[in-house]
Symmetry: D2
Subunit: 138 residues, 4 copies
């Protein structure tokens, strides 16, 4: 298991007239969480596309909305990879407000597409090797 | 069961550099689908907030992304209520492109909040009565 | 001069906690307005990119916000090309609510980029020819 | 004159299929720039709404788009108040990429609305007093 924390402040643009962070915008927070988790391991999603010609579209998402996130809240996004799979990568996210209340909990599964062929492939080796040390069982 | 179809065209703003409709934007399409389903029954979500002081935040969402939606595609959003619950309302959505391929499938559960007290309440009666005829069992 | 009207309904996602259509979202309405103006002339922006390998980024935008657009309002976007230029294309947009009140007025200038070279070019001929008849002076 | 700098990283969600930061999304960056400028002076926009019952809708926006902002770029938003007005507040924004190239330049004018009456008012005194010292002429 590997876990990483990121912080983001809720923008006015992201609220709706209920005064909540609009439910569709959590997907962006999940995105930032997983990209920063990757960066913390020395992995750049941008380079994955540019240099390795591999892109990672989302194939599944699930979220529970427990409490509203409000304008100007500084949220903590705790993102983790819990299992190492070969053909996809699943990120679990938990979002907390600044009083440590859990607001949102969910996970997103992404696959790997070779941008030249358009075909689905296995997890690129350099990515697998960075993640592998965190999943060695005793 | 009650089903309603709406059509929406993908905006340039909604694409990402993968040339896909960004995965977080489907939540907006689901929103339009359920609001139009309600309107088709003579129910206005706007009036629910303004006149009945009831709002409906999302408490759960789940989506599978099967094929990408692309810029300028005219998508068909098929939204349905499959079960009549008392304390929440669940909308199932299936999104098809113009060659009838299923792109996205998911569901969203919303609850009812009394805007004066901030407390969760049961489904307002006028809403229940509009939906009820579609769920009478033989 | 050439003018075209499109209608769009304000989504919940597009409001902010002020209960207004968020000011940044008008840019999307302008986009829909100009793309539908082009379509009304038999011009597809999608095909411009796909077949002609020309894309049209925005180089200038100006907007006045006169009255708020509200959730569920059906807005009329009146888009017009007032002058035929050779190296850019300027769209003027006026947005009205359903009581014909002017909410927003602005314009956007776009240029033409050859997607292969990345260089700025003049307006593609097929586009110029479609627009030209509306600008013949007596 | 008072100037403040903020940094923001471009999200995948904010790109479009041209691989540019979508032109409508700069409005959010401008928003973050002006809110952080206010915070740097000890002013909270959130409290302005909550405690002072004053909100600040945008009444004018103008932007030039000089070079594209790209995915994962860390942008510097330089926001400044150049003139102290009594009935509105104008923020100038310049956005630079990490090689100090100017990408976008514009300004936004906001007014002050008393949330109880819905009427436009002058700049609240506590806000005026925080800004005033930066505009004393010799």
């Amino acid at each position: 298991m590997y876990t990483f924390e990121t912080k983001l402040r809720v923008r006015y643009a992201e609220t709706d007239q209920m005064k909540y962070l609009y439910y569709g915008n959590y997907a962006q927070y999940f995105e930032v969480g997983r990209v920063e988790l990757m960066r913390s391991l020395g992995l750049s999603y941008k380079e994955l596309e540019e240099n390795h010609k591999v892109m990672m579209p989302v194939i599944y998402m699930q979220q529970r909305f427990l409490r509203p996130a409000l304008y100007d809240d500084v949220l903590t996004i705790e993102t983790s990879v819990r299992v190492l799979e070969e053909n996809s990568l699943t990120f679990h996210s938990e979002i907390f407000n600044d009083t440590q209340k859990l607001l949102n909990s969910g996970h997103v599964r992404l696959c790997f597409i070779d941008m030249n062929s358009g075909k689905r492939i296995a997890m690129p080796k350099h990515l697998y090797e960075k993640l592998h040390p965190f999943f060695i069982q005793n």
